[in-house]
């Protein structure tokens, strides 16, 4: 055998090669059997010492054969024995020697019986490790008390090869390379790593983490262990969403966090709003403060690439948010991006490709439906004509002859069909196209299946003292309607360097460039187009008015004609230095810069109806922003026995300036060729500009104190200054306090099935400064007028001053409990809170006769209270399947307690004064004792039906109009008839996530979301239009004598007083679902890929609701339904 194989000449082939193949197969069979029965037999007695410098493999083999008696088998076609190696070995087994020799070579070896060694080219696992003797490891995992621990993940480090322990704590893991390290991990336990080496059985006992999950949570200007938290903070890891495509990271938070409400976005840019707990303000912004990598980020959240997210921490209660004082009343969202780690570079690539449709579809009338709709509309608006007047002469009702029909009016037209089309007020072009059988589907032309693309690459690693994370991403989203396109390029560089053991410097920088240059086709405009209109005229030019009605412009006019350029760039960079000082002190200075540049240019040429009026219209808006902040943070951490102190002191200053120039011109008589690039070509330029300036300061102190790991105390105090407030109140103070008690850590606590139990409570004051920075001033407006042909400037008082203007103050009380049962199989938390906001920044309504409709004031009181519940369970796990769930539930109730303090009389039924109460603000729809989103309107009892003519007449209505409730029975609908009908925001929020792993490499996740108990106006139920004898409309039901429904009005309904028809908007939807597959290492490793995952995900796949419009969440804006295919690679 030896002769046959090792002594074969290097390049020999032919019949011998075939023989070898047969033998190889045989050997493989033998090999498999051997591995089953015996593991490694490398004899310790055959250890060697070698020193080879640049020697060929052939020589190495010869040496080993000579010294040990081992013999080598290999195929000359596969193994190049002339390759050179350098080795220096001291007393190692042959296995070790070969491992080292093949370290950088694509070969593996296996020891067979009779001291035979088979060398093969690596066909599986990574190419850069040659040591590939694989074996199966068995063992058992126990908890610290020696009890079996089921559900522990056992993983070969750096691969996806793994298993979980069964109910008895036992596991068995095959295909484990000899040089592998096994990682044992379990929630609530410290992860443990074991090097396999010669072992075939590895039994270990996992140790509990000190308290609960040893997770670090960002709390603003610092971090604490999750176990030490006193406030209400929710942490979300970026990993959770890696199968979901999002251009805006807020899309990850729709329904997934208790107490955080984010709406599904309907646009390509995925712009949306976020609200933490309830609305604490009536007028000022309710958007939470964003803190990015430890510093306040005032920019747009879309500038942050979702793929860079390491974790998100949401500070919900007053105490934890209070460190951000006047910015924090709406909660704080702390976003941490990925940081560099390790000494080698890891490359991650991910691509996603998706398609966007809509969750629902409402179409305009078809060509036939259009004619029927036209008939009904004309019958409705011309009741004096015989019903059959508008009937098709080819299908006249019984008893009506063509002659009768023709004589309905005096005209003499020999062609009844033409008469009919005339009576339907069809335009000549429509008549022509009807006769020629030509139709055009405008809706189909304007809607599309949008393609979404997303590509990201990142490098993560370090060299020497320097660690780095760099990423670049490109997103190109097309929405479901033509022109709604969004492109963004984002890049990030996070570096830090430990210059010395006491000085660390670093930078977190991101740059983004957004392109929103496209012009979106207006959906409503698609619906009004006649199906018998034409997109192009006979010359092939885009028709201004597709069916020659000058009220109905071509929906594609701007899409095809506008020349638009709209790009925004943003640079956010934070440079910091951190100094470790003696006695537990450290000092950090951050210098934070933000630049925004926006160029928004467009040209509307004279080839469009609008542009034609002015012979072209050009607009250039250039705006920029520069903002800096300085944070100086001094911290002191010290432990004295059982007393653990952590003190943070902050001084912050900020300045923000914006500049905006808007230039417009019209009358491009000479040439329009240069569009917005040459505004000088126009004849009548306009210039508008606006600059702003604001400054702020802050000082903050915080003490965290922990006693015996059981008792926790946090005290904070912050003072803020802001230039936007009236000069009488430039500063405000925000104190807070929080305590927590870890019951589980008490000696007396013995209940074994409880693995975590902590009680928390906090109280604090937060502020909201988010109003216009010049709202405290009386502002003058300017206007232009003519005197003859001279332009003169006018001035007027536009707003009323309020020098007293100050912060809104929210005081909040929070109580929470964290729990874990059965070794963390069930864990979660529950929170209750009560918030009181006073000094509300209100645009107080004034009697308009004073000359101002409103003035910005501090008044009133708004309360919020609510409950949040999060439950995480590990439902099932065995070797093949594991299933985890998480459930979130929350609700918030708010109440307007006070507004302007004006008292009004309360009358009884007979008009006698029986007391006083504070006046509501009906203009704004705010009522004392009611929620902000309370719907106060006329109650629609249905639709007036045939037979109710007399009763309806009193209200100026007729059958087919809305029957409004008239509680006072006076036969007229007045404001006094309005009632509280419901709420316009969801009353209950539910979210349920399930993650199921199966067949080793598959994961299935789904997220079901429910928003319940609210209502909204549905305009599609009301047919108010007066001009539908000139245009098409949405194909939705309407009342008519032959279709006497009770849910929608007749056409051209009488709409006085102004009323709205509401529908329930509550919904349950399968919002996200994904299935992913980790391609096993055996397949990908030869491609030098460490990890490869492919997945398919969908968003908004199924929705259940009573809403009859487009989508309950977005009302009558279509909701996108997105399917995404993605692939993630780690090199």
């Amino acid at each position: 055998m030896k002769l046959l194989l090792t002594k074969l000449p290097g390049r020999q082939a032919g019949p011998l090669k075939n023989l070898y193949r047969v033998m190889k197969l045989t050997w493989l069979l033998v090999l498999t059997l051997c591995l089953q029965t015996s593991a490694s037999v490398w004899s310790q007695t055959s250890s060697l010492s070698l020193k080879l410098n640049n020697t060929t493999l052939q020589e190495l083999f010869n040496t080993i054969e000579n010294k040990t008696g081992y013999r080598f088998f290999y195929n000359n076609d596969e193994v190049d024995v002339s390759q050179k190696v350098t080795l220096s070995i001291n007393d190692k087994t042959v296995g070790d020697i070969l491992s080292q020799a093949f370290k950088d070579l694509p070969y593996s070896f296996k020891e067979l019986e009779n001291k035979l060694i088979l060398i093969e080219r690596t066909e599986n696992e990574t190419g850069n490790t040659g040591l590939q003797q694989q074996k199966t490891i068995n063992g058992k995992v126990n908890d610290p008390k020696g009890l079996p621990l089921p559900g522990v993940t056992v993983l070969v480090k750096g691969t996806t090869n793994g298993t979980v322990t069964g109910a008895d704590g036992n596991y068995s893991l095959g295909n484990v390379p000899l040089n592998a390290t096994l990682v044992f991990s379990f929630v609530g336990m410290k992860s443990q790593e074991v090097i396999v080496e010669n072992q075939t059985e590895i039994n270990i006992a996992l140790q509990e983490e000190a308290i609960g999950i040893e997770e670090v949570v960002a709390i603003g200007y610092g971090t604490v262990k999750k176990s030490d938290l006193t406030g209400s903070v929710t942490k979300i890891k970026g990993q959770q969403f890696e199968n979901q495509q999002a251009a805006n990271l807020l899309q990850y938070l729709t329904g997934t966090v208790a107490g955080v409400s984010v709406n599904n976005s309907t646009s390509a840019s995925e712009s949306t709003q976020i609200e933490v707990r309830g609305p604490t303000s009536l007028n000022a912004n309710n958007t939470p403060l964003i803190v990015l990598d430890g510093v306040i980020f005032n920019g747009n959240i879309t500038d942050i690439n979702p793929n860079d997210i390491e974790s998100i921490d949401i500070l919900k209660d007053a105490s934890s948010a209070a460190v951000f004082g006047s910015r924090s009343a709406s909660g704080v969202v702390i976003i941490n991006t990925k940081k560099g780690s390790g000494d080698e570079v890891t490359i991650n690539l991910s691509s996603q490709l998706g398609i966007t449709g809509t969750t629902n579809e409402i179409q305009p009338y078809s060509p036939e439906g259009y004619l029927k709709f036209r008939q009904d509309f004309l019958r409705r608006t011309n009741p004096s004509f015989p019903t059959a007047y508008y009937d098709n002469p080819n299908s006249l009702p019984e008893g009506i002859t063509l002659d009768t029909w023709q004589k309905y009016d005096e005209t003499v037209n020999p062609d009844p069909e033409d008469t009919w089309m005339n009576r339907l007020k069809l335009r000549e072009i429509e008549k022509k196209n009807i006769l020629e059988g030509k139709t055009f589907d405008w809706f189909d032309e304007g809607m599309r299946t949008g393609i979404r693309q997303n590509y990201d690459v990142s490098l993560n690693g370090g060299t020497g003292v320097l660690k780095y994370y760099w990423s670049a991403g490109y997103t190109d989203n097309e929405n479901y309607i033509l022109g709604d396109d969004y492109k963004i390029v984002r890049t990030r560089l996070n570096t830090d360097a430990n210059v010395t053991n006491y000085l660390k410097v670093g930078m977190n920088a991101q740059f983004s460039s957004k392109d929103e240059s496209n012009v979106t086709v207006n959906m409503g405009n698609l619906a009004t187009q006649s199906p018998y209109g034409q997109l192009y005229d006979d010359n092939g030019e885009l028709k201004w008015y597709p069916h020659d009605d000058s009220n109905i412009t071509n929906p594609f006019m701007n899409y095809y004609n506008y020349d638009k350029f709209n790009k925004a760039q943003n640079l956010f960079a934070n440079i910091y230095g951190e100094l470790n000082l003696p006695f537990g002190f450290s000092f950090k200075t951050s210098f934070i810069n933000r630049y925004d540049w926006v160029k928004n240019y467009y040209y509307n040429p004279s080839t469009t109806p609008v542009g034609n009026k002015t012979m072209g219209y050009a607009q250039r808006i250039n705006s920029s922003l520069y903002e800096w902040q300085i944070d100086n943070i001094l911290t002191w951490k010290k432990k004295f026995g059982e007393h653990d102190f952590n003190v943070t002191l902050l001084y912050n200053a900020e300045k923000k300036q914006t500049w905006r120039d808007q230039v417009e011109n019209i009358g491009f008589l000479a040439s329009e060729a240069l569009t917005y690039h040459q505004l000088n070509a126009g004849s009548s330029p306009t210039v508008i500009n606006n600059d702003t300036y604001s400054t702020g300061t802050a000082m903050m102190g915080r003490l965290n104190y922990v006693l015996k790991s059981r008792y926790f105390l946090t005290l904070t105090y912050r003072q803020d200054g802001y230039s936007a407030f009236g000069q009488l109140n430039p500063y405000a103070n925000f104190p807070s306090a929080a305590v927590a008690w870890n019951v589980k850590n008490e000696n007396f606590f013995k209940t074994k099935w409880v693995s975590n139990l902590k009680l928390r409570t906090s109280y604090g004051v937060n502020g909201n400064r988010d109003i216009g920075i010049y709202d405290a001033l009386a502002q003058l407006g300017t206007t232009k007028y003519l005197s003859g042909t001279t332009v003169v400037s006018g001035i007027y008082s536009a707003t009323m001053a309020n020098a007293d203007l100050r912060w809104e103050r929210t005081t909040a009380l929070n109580g929470g409990i964290d729990f874990g049962f059965f070794n963390g199989k069930i864990s979660g938390s529950a929170e209750v809170y009560k918030m009181k906001t006073t000094d509300l920044l209100l645009l107080r309504s004034l009697p308009a006769i004073i000359g101002y409709k409103s003035v910005m004031s501090n008044m009133g009181q708004l309360d919020n209270k609510g409950f949040e519940f999060t439950l995480e369970t590990r439902n099932y796990s065995d070797k093949k399947v594991s299933w985890n769930s998480s459930l979130v539930f929350s609700f918030n109730r708010n109440e307007i307690v006070h507004l302007y303090g004006e008292m009004v009389d309360v009358f009884d039924k007979d008009g006698n004064v029986i007391g006083q109460k504070e006046a509501d603000d009906r203009t704004n729809g705010w009522f004392i004792g009611e929620s902000i989103d309370r719907v106060w309107d006329y109650r629609a009892l249905g639709i007036w039906q045939l037979g109710e003519e007399e009763e309806a007449k009193s209200f100026g209505k007729a059958p087919g109009d809305v029957k409004l409730n008239d509680p006072d029975g006076n036969g007229i609908s007045t404001q006094e008839d309005k009632e509280f009908l419901g709420y316009s925001k969801p009353r209950y929020h539910w979210g349920l996530r399930n993650d199921i792993s199966f067949l080793k490499n598959f994961t299935f996740s789904c997220f079901i979301r429910a928003e319940l108990g609210y209502m909204g106006p549905n305009g599609l139920l009301m047919h108010k239009s007066q001009t539908e004898d000139r245009q098409n409309a949405w194909d939705v039901p309407y009342w008519s004598p032959t279709n006497p429904i009770n849910t929608a009005t007749r056409l051209n309904t009488v709409d006085t007083p102004v009323f709205t028809l509401y529908e329930s908007r509550g919904f349950v939807r399968l919002q996200d679902a994904s299935i992913s597959y980790n391609i096993p290492g055996s397949i990908i490793n030869k491609l030098k890929i460490n990890r490869c995952k492919v997945y398919l995900s969908g968003r908004n796949m199924l929705t259940f609701s009573k809403w009859s419009g487009w989508d309950p969440e977005s009302g009558n804006t279509p909701m996108p339904r997105i399917y995404t295919f993605g692939i993630d690679l780690t090199l």
């Binding site: 608006t381 000549e428 009026k613 003058l780 007028y785 003859g788 332009v791 008082s797 004073i850 203009t923």
Partner: protein, 589 residues
């Protein structure tokens, strides 16, 4: 190490020091504030520009306050078919609103805004640095003019309303209503002062002394101070202004036209040689910042909707088109008849065949000028035979119109004109004569009344009238002939109705004003649509009631005034809470 620590400490301290108190000062970079502007002549003159500009709001756009006035009179109705077009005042003219197309409350909002602007001037000027006393008086005079102008309108449209005599710089929500007579007395006093200082000659758009006297004459009439009215009107007439009796302006040499034509052409209204113009609001194409968006819309408002598939040829085909560039579209204008004049104005008042104001050759567009303009019609270019169309559709599509007044060439939409940019008369000397005629009438000096009326008729080449013909109805007819689309018709008829009620003439009294008044009686007499009470057009019948002589006070004004009481007019819901109106004007309100 020590050095670094010292450095850090220094940075920390410096950080504090650099941010001293002035760091937080508010800096309005692009915003004017009262403190910086209302300090000198320039600032106050800027406010006057705003006041002048906002005189124009009602003459432009779709319907405008003047459109609402005209359809609430003897002259016209709303021909718009929509459910929110004002047809049935009983069900549609509500305190909660009248819809956006026919917005009866726009006048209220604009008027109080202008009163605020005027009060800014009046309340602040004493503290300002204006050395020249004459200049100061002139500024005050114009501010008083504007305040009086808007109150004159408010009391005749809304009756008793709150009078605000100063600027409010802090919130106030406890206003009370003043009596109409109290307000009229106050603004007559104010205008008596103002006319002393208003300049004799002014730039186009500004307020001259003659305009001041013209307004004063109206106020005096409203106050039943008829001799004062005669004096004021005489002062306006003798202040250097004259009726235009000879050809002038743009097409003066073109014999096809005449002086009435010249008078109403946009190029001529602000000419310095136009001595008839007393107050002209400004709007010209080519000044995007200063012009009214969209222009006068005069054709959309006053021209029939001849093109909208109503008019048929003998074959029953739609024989009319508003196609862009169609020569007739350009010639007639793409009207939609927001304000549709009725037979009273279209036919009844034109008895005199020589009256240039109804000269069908050039000035007047009579319906027999319509031809089938759709080239696809077999009858293209032939005279329209309206009998082939539905008779009822003529409400919207078929009536004559004063071409010389309402046709405004449209620079923005030359191929499909809606009514372009043009100056517009607010006060014109012809009206001053008619005001003086009215004052003489009330003074029972019918000869002088006839003389003044004949001056206006004479210029229009109409036969003079005799004293026997002079009565209030004739004066209103003459005003209709002369001032269509210029005068706020409902305001003027209401003024006369109040004069009759205040003086207990013709059986009218102020006590039962809401149930019996001259305005209602005249409208019902002249306006067949409202008289019939059963003409359904679109979704509503045409109908109004005596109490609509005053429009409702906007409910929003009453409701936002939580601490006080703003009275509602009798007839509308809410008037049961009324209190006796104030009769004293002071700075507390």
């Amino acid at each position: 190490m020590k050095k670094i620590k010292i450095l850090i400490a220094l940075t920390f301290i410096l950080g504090f020091l650099s941010c001293n108190d002035s760091f937080l000062d508010i800096k309005p970079l692009s915003i004017f504030t009262p403190e910086s502007i209302y300090t000198d002549e320039t600032g106050f003159k800027g406010v006057l520009v705003t006041l002048r500009k906002n005189l124009r709001f009602e003459f432009y756009g779709q319907v405008g306050a003047i459109g609402c006035e005209i359809i609430s009179s003897d002259m016209a109705i709303a021909a718009n078919k929509g459910a929110d077009a004002m047809h049935n005042y009983d069900t549609q003219l509500l305190p909660t609103g009248t819809g956006s197309t026919y917005n009866f409350f726009e006048l209220w909002d604009v008027a109080y805004n202008q009163i605020r602007n005027a009060n800014v001037v009046l309340s602040r000027i004493d503290k300002a640095d204006i050395k020249n006393e004459a200049t100061k008086k002139e500024i005050v005079a114009e501010a008083l003019f504007h305040r009086s102008y808007w109150y004159y309108r408010l009391v005749h449209v809304f009756g008793d309303v709150p009078f605000l005599s100063r600027e409010y710089t802090e919130p106030k929500i406890d206003f009370y209503t003043h009596a109409r007579k109290t307000i009229l007395t106050k603004i007559q006093e104010d205008m008596n002062v103002a006319v002393q200082s208003l300049p004799m000659t002014v730039d186009p758009g500004a307020v001259s002394r003659a305009a001041g006297y013209h307004l004063l004459a109206k106020i005096c009439l409203a106050n039943s101070k008829f001799s004062d009215a005669v004096n004021a009107a005489t002062a306006a007439i003798s202040g250097g202004n004259t009726l235009m009796t000879a050809r002038f302006g743009q097409v003066a040499s073109n014999p096809k036209y005449n002086v009435i034509w010249d008078l109403h052409q946009k190029e001529n209204k602000s000419l310095s040689i136009n001595k008839e113009a007393l107050l002209v609001v400004q709007d010209k194409y080519g000044f995007p910042d200063a012009e009214v968006s969209g222009g006068t819309y005069a054709m959309r408002r006053y021209v029939p909707c001849w093109w909208n598939n109503y008019i048929k040829d003998p074959n029953g085909k739609h024989a009319m088109t508003d196609a862009s560039g169609n020569p007739f579209t350009i010639l007639w204008g793409r009207g939609v008849a927001y304000v549709r004049t009725i037979n009273y104005y279209n036919y009844d008042i034109w008895k005199d065949p020589t009256d240039l104001r109804h000269d069908t050759l050039t000035n007047w567009f009579s319906t027999d000028k319509f031809v089938y303009n759709n080239p696809t019609s077999k009858y293209y270019m032939q005279k329209v035979q309206i009998k082939y169309s539905n008779a009822k559709d003529t409400i919207h599509c078929w009536f004559p119109f004063p071409y010389y007044k309402v046709y405004v060439a449209d620079e923005e939409r030359p191929q499909q004109p809606y009514g372009g940019h043009s100056d517009w008369y607010v006060f014109r000397l012809a009206e001053t004569y008619l005001l003086r005629a009215e004052a003489y009438y009330w003074l029972n000096d019918l000869q002088k009344a006839a003389d003044d009326i004949n001056i206006v008729r004479n210029r229009a080449n109409a036969a003079p009238i005799t004293t026997a013909q002079v009565d209030i109805n004739y004066i209103l007819d003459e005003r209709a002939r002369e001032l269509f689309a210029e005068e706020p018709r409902k305001t003027e008829i209401t003024r006369i109705a109040f004069i009759m009620a205040d003086n207990k003439k013709f059986g009218y009294t102020i006590e039962n004003f809401s149930t019996k008044n001259y305005w209602y009686d005249r409208v019902i007499e002249k306006n067949a649509f409202y008289r019939a009470e059963n003409i359904l057009w679109g979704t509503n019948i045409y109908k109004l009631s005596p109490f609509h002589v005053l429009w409702p006070i906007p409910a929003s004004a009453i409701e936002s005034n939580i601490g006080g009481v703003i009275n509602q007019n009798v007839g509308y819901i809410g008037s049961e809470k009324n209190q006796t109106p104030l009769t004293i004007i002071d700075n507390n309100q």
